[in-house]
């Protein structure tokens, strides 16, 4: 059987598949369903320093091969996470990725400090949060804004720092370069695609915020393009995600140069998706005489 481990920012991941933030709780929710030790890690539900109740109204909507969500970063806050969720997350037997977002640079910095002190394995900084100081535009749209928040976080972050990009970035290559220059250890992309749906009977948008995030197989080809661009733009590792449902999908990202992949929406379509995809990658490698992921990573470029 192929060797599926990934050396990633000084840690050894058991496999190339990491559960994506917001789709896997903090891990224990899936512990009774699949063996989480074969995963490369679990990225927990996105945290904000003080927690928030999330959005009112519709939160989920199905589209062709896609899912729209408007959870609104509902989370219990960093301290509650450290006290109550982190211990169980650690017991899942894989690496702990703390996914954090914040509306101000200060919030991000403070959250990162607390999480590093609590001993998470990785920080995944989600820069898709609307930046209240910048008039509601997300940090993740303009490269300069992203560089600023990443620089500030970098100064206090004592564990490897992954910056998770939004597909709404004005330019993926420029965004990647800015984030690398600001000190990110790796990049993950992409987050959900801003999208809209209208309820014909009510004659208004399905979601209270008008827009919501689209994920799932529908977006995979676009996400793969962005990952391809990111790998070409920077020399730090890139974690690819967006619509991955099968081992073959994951292999496309790896052949495009992704160090590892994340799996989100697929967990809802198949609660064993992360382990199944891991197995499918191994089976493909075995069938093709590929012994390690390094042999094929980036081979399509």
């Amino acid at each position: 059987m192929a060797d599926l481990h990934v050396d990633f920012l000084g840690k050894r991941l058991a496999g190339p598949v990491i559960a994506a933030s917001g789709t896997f709780g903090f891990g224990p929710e899936y512990a009774g369903i699949e063996d989480l030790r074969v995963l490369g890690g679990i990225s927990g539900k996105g945290l904000t320093l003080n927690g928030q109740p999330g959005n009112e109204g519709e939160r989920l909507y199905e589209t062709p091969s896609g899912l729209m969500n408007s959870i609104g970063l509902q989370n219990p806050g960093v301290q509650h996470f450290i006290d109550h969720e982190l211990p169980a997350m650690r017991r899942c037997g894989t690496t702990v990725w703390a996914n954090l977002g914040g509306h101000t640079i200060e919030e991000n910095v403070e959250g990162v400090q607390m999480l590093c002190a609590a001993g998470v394995d990785f920080i995944e900084l989600n820069i898709s949060c609307p930046n209240v100081k910048q008039g509601g535009l997300a940090f993740g749209i303009r490269a300069a804004d992203a560089g600023e928040v990443v620089s500030a976080v970098r100064k206090v972050c004592t564990v490897p720092l992954i910056v998770k990009l939004s597909p709404q970035a004005e330019s993926i290559p420029e965004m990647c370069k800015a984030v690398e220059a600001a000190g990110a250890d790796a990049i993950s992309l992409c987050n959900t695609f801003q999208a809209c749906a209208i309820d014909l009977e009510k004659r208004r948008p399905v979601f209270n915020n008008t827009f919501a995030g689209l994920s799932g197989p529908a977006v995979r080809p676009i996400a793969l393009r962005m990952v391809w661009q990111a790998v070409g733009a920077v020399s730090i590792p890139v974690v690819g995600l967006g619509g991955i449902l099968t081992g073959k999908d994951a292999l496309e990202f790896i052949m495009a140069g992704a160090a590892a992949v994340q799996v989100g929406t697929a967990n809802f379509l198949d609660p064993k998706a992360c382990t199944r995809i891991t197995n499918e990658i191994g089976q493909w490698m075995d069938a093709h005489g590929v012994k390690t992921l390094d042999e094929i990573r980036g081979c399509a470029r």
């Binding site: 369903i33 109740p53 939160r59 062709p64 899912l67 449902l245 809802f268 609660p271």
Partner: protein
């Protein structure tokens, strides 16, 4: 429509008020999400697990198209359900109130309550005609039915029939308007009331926060913290 599957996992037996995420189609087929369906009945002798559902759209349509020996993915049991042992221990006069397909989870509830020593009164509301009532008879003290059309039973709302003050607790499952009405009666009479809620769901496991309900005690997930809640906490 009724669907019966074999549930093998004896370490996690389903009980009243719990549900499963059902998927009778491939991971890459539509609809993209699995569908939550309550446990209608579970026979812990044979392992036969029954679901009762109404064909609404694509998902339930595909469930209905299942043929014998087709594969079906069931994830569960999900949710808290009703703690019938505790309920029967604490309350002696129990009313169970359901409407339409919301009666699905009530059969097992009545059964479990009955077995735990309390035979509940059942109140049901339907649009036109009642269905599946014969199955309730062995497990209930009295059954009161109402229909919107008056074709069967009381012509009007099920809440018309219900004098909550006669009960120590009311358990309800059905359309939101009905549950709201029941909860209001209970609040006025100071009678505790548990309601089983519905929300669109993605994971059914408490992992995605797609089914959050904002309540007086803060945000809760219907799939994991619920679907059964203290009605006073979720309705105002």
């Amino acid at each position: 429509m009724r669907l019966t599957v074999q549930w093998q996992d004896r370490s996690r037996e389903p009980h009243a008020g719990q549900f499963y995420m059902l998927r009778a189609w491939a991971a890459d087929a539509t609809p993209i999400l699995s569908r939550p369906i309550s446990v209608d009945d579970f026979d812990n002798q044979t392992g036969a697990l029954t679901f009762l559902y109404q064909v609404k759209g694509e998902g339930t349509h595909k469930l209905a198209a299942l043929k014998k020996d087709d594969t079906l993915t069931v994830t569960g049991p999900c949710g808290n359900g009703f703690d019938t042992a505790a309920l029967a221990g604490q309350y002696k006069r129990i009313a169970v109130v359901g409407g339409g397909i919301g009666t699905a989870p009530l059969l097992l509830l009545c059964k479990e309550l009955c077995r735990a020593g309390v035979r509940p009164d059942l109140f049901v509301g339907f649009r036109d005609t009642t269905y599946g009532m014969d199955r309730f008879v062995p497990w209930c003290r009295d059954i009161y039915a109402a229909t919107d059309s008056g074709k069967e039973g009381h012509h009007g709302l099920v809440t018309d029939l219900l004098d909550v003050s006669k009960y120590d607790i009311v358990l309800t499952c059905g359309p939101m308007v009905m549950m709201r009405g029941v909860a209001k009666l209970c609040a006025a009479a100071g009678v505790p009331c548990l309601a089983s809620l519905e929300k669109k769901m993605a994971c059914g496991l408490g992992a995605c926060l797609g089914c959050t309900c904002h309540t007086k005690i803060g945000p809760v997930t219907v799939c994991k913290d619920g679907p059964v809640f203290n009605a006073q906490e979720v309705f105002d």
